[in-house]
């Protein structure tokens, strides 16, 4: 529908894909299988969904700081999300993305949205994330 949200760039990059959205924070350690991109935290609402190539929206990361290492593995394995949307600057996601950029020249775009904008996201929407922190919303498919 062409709605555009302006977020805060945490790590710049471009990415697009179908949204995978949860209001629950996620730990990637024990929560994300980097071999497949599946969310495997069985207590998480997105459990069983594959986030590879999707625009993954979670408010922030929970728990272990090993989240960064798991997300870096996902970048190398080609199972990382196409972009990450959060409600605030998340240092663990940012670090994984920066190291992916330094090692592989492939940062994952990380953009922080206001809580109000984040609440408008829906799983299945086509989203496009731009390098200046815009999130362009398409229809739910």
């Amino acid at each position: 529908m062409g709605r555009v949200m302006q977020g805060q760039v945490v790590v710049a990059g471009t990415g697009a894909g179908l949204a995978l959205v949860s209001r629950e924070p996620l730990s990637f350690w024990g929560g994300y299988d980097y071999h497949t991109g599946e969310i495997i935290d069985r207590r998480h609402p997105l459990s069983g969904q594959v986030a590879a190539g999707r625009v993954l929206a979670v408010p922030f990361t929970r728990g272990s700081s090993t989240t960064t290492a798991v997300l870096l593995e996902a970048v190398k394995a080609g199972t990382a999300p196409a972009a990450l949307l959060t409600t605030g600057p998340d240092t663990f996601l940012a670090l994984a993305s920066v190291v992916a950029d330094e090692l592989y020249g492939r940062p994952i775009p990380v953009v922080a949205l206001s809580a109000a904008d984040f609440d408008l996201l829906q799983t299945g929407q086509r989203l496009q994330v731009t390098a200046d922190g815009q999130v362009r919303l398409g229809d739910v498919t």
Binding site: Q8, Y34, T66, A69, F92, L95, E102
Partner: protein, 427 residues
């Protein structure tokens, strides 16, 4: 500008020189990563640290190994005394377990890479129980959640929660973002827990600290808990258990125990004069519920008793030995203690290992069951006195867990089924 804020990062001349390569390519890469992260931390400048503890040693996969070997190949050398957390492998004992060969090979390469950087190969998640323990007020960059919370809370050293990959960058440069728990104002208590009618007999019991920690983490999440109403002086290993539990069920990086921990001589000091965001009355009933939540198994089956998360200390070995004397484990129950090379050496000298061997117990060093794929598939149910093992094992190892006291763990290993006395918890 590719960062979260438009505030320019204030760098020193030395920082600028390092970014130009004056300290070599590894330090240059490390400082570039720190500088890109600093605005995300909300830092406008960097500050010096004088020690580091590296959790990046844990083997997760080929990308983490590639990062370590890239740094090593660039000639990386730490510039502050730096201890190493657990690795993915008991370097000289993994063959006795179910670790796949290829995995062992990769994990070992990662150990070699980090050891090549001039670090101290402590291979332990309890570096605060070594001679490298930091001191009050010292600025440090530590990884490993239980070590971070112990350093901040029990010692009064200052570290943020450094994630894997960043901890080593800090060690290679001696610089960290000037933000978060490095700064006094970020260390004020936020959630007040008032113990109400919790008897001293319970407060003296080891399990109380694991249970209280689990509760603090659940409620406080990433905020700073403050506890009042403690009437006993906890032992170091009890504070270790409390912190590890709180850093598992939540992401607690600092707690204050009023009258006990160094930044909490009074409630007002712990809160830095602020009012609590939330106040929680902790009764015996609250604690009993938290204690129950640590058990996910529902029967009497137990395949393995596992102790030592965080790594078992000398004092814990000495506490365990007399409980084992003259007994042997049930043939169907494995009995494992995870610890460090240094602690096992000291415990051996102190005569606290022979009883464990005679009992049929085993010791693993350098790693633990959460970071090394060592358990054979027939191990489905665990028993432990560690809240951290109890919290993570169901998700990471797909095992069910019974939480109990040290004595319960020994009794269960002997009986071949879960034996759990209510002990001090009996109402």
């Amino acid at each position: 500008m590719d960062t979260a804020t438009d505030l320019p990062l204030r760098l020193t001349d030395r920082d600028r020189a390092v970014l130009m390569g004056a300290a070599g390519p590894a330090a240059r890469l490390a400082l570039r990563i720190i500088c890109r992260l600093a605005p995300v931390y909300g830092a406008a400048e960097l500050l010096d640290i004088t020690a580091a503890h590296i959790d990046s040693t844990v083997y997760i996969g080929l990308a983490g190994l590639e990062f370590a070997e890239r740094l090593a190949s660039l000639g990386a050398r730490v510039v502050v005394p730096t201890t190493l957390n657990v690795s993915g492998l008991d370097e000289h004992g993994w063959q006795g377990w179910a670790v796949p060969n290829e995995w062992a090979n990769h994990a070992h390469r990662q150990m070699v890479a980090y050891q090549s950087m001039g670090t101290v190969p402590t291979w332990t998640c309890a570096p605060y129980q070594t001679e490298h323990k930091p001191v009050f007020g010292q600025q440090i960059a530590w990884g490993e959640s239980n070590a971070i919370v112990f350093a901040n809370s029990v010692i009064g050293a200052r570290t943020a929660r450094y994630p894997d990959l960043l901890d080593i960058c800090c060690a290679l440069t001696g610089r960290v973002p000037a933000a978060g728990l490095h700064l006094t104002e970020a260390r004020a208590g936020q959630v007040l827990f008032q113990l109400d009618g919790v008897p001293a007999a319970i407060q003296r019991d080891d399990t109380f600290y694991a249970v209280l920690g689990h509760l603090l983490g659940q409620v406080a999440q990433d905020r700073i808990p403050v506890v009042t109403g403690l009437v006993v002086q906890p032992a170091e290993d009890q504070l270790k258990a409390l912190g590890a539990a709180a850093a598992s069920s939540g992401t607690v990086a600092l707690f204050h125990l009023v009258g006990i921990t160094p930044e909490a001589p009074t409630l007002d000091a712990a809160m830095q004069g602020h009012a609590p965001e939330q106040t929680v009355i902790v009764t015996l009933a609250t604690l009993l519920a938290a204690r129950q939540a640590l058990t996910t198994a529902d029967g009497a089956a137990v395949d393995m008793v596992v102790l030592g998360s965080p790594h078992f200390s000398l004092a814990e070995f000495q506490q365990l030995a007399p409980l084992l004397a003259g007994q042997a484990r049930h043939p169907q129950v494995e009995f494992l203690v995870t610890s460090s090379r240094a602690m096992v050496y000291l415990a051996e000298k102190a005569g606290a290992i022979s009883a464990l061997r005679a009992f049929g117990g085993r010791v693993t060093v350098d790693t633990c069951i959460l970071t090394s794929p060592m358990l054979p598939p027939h191990i489905r149910t665990l028993m432990t006195n560690s809240a951290k093992y109890a919290y993570y094992a169901p998700g990471l190892l797909n095992t069910r867990v019974t939480f109990g006291s040290l004595a319960d763990c020994v009794a269960s290993a002997v009986a071949g089924r879960v034996v759990r006395s209510e002990g001090v918890w009996a109402a």
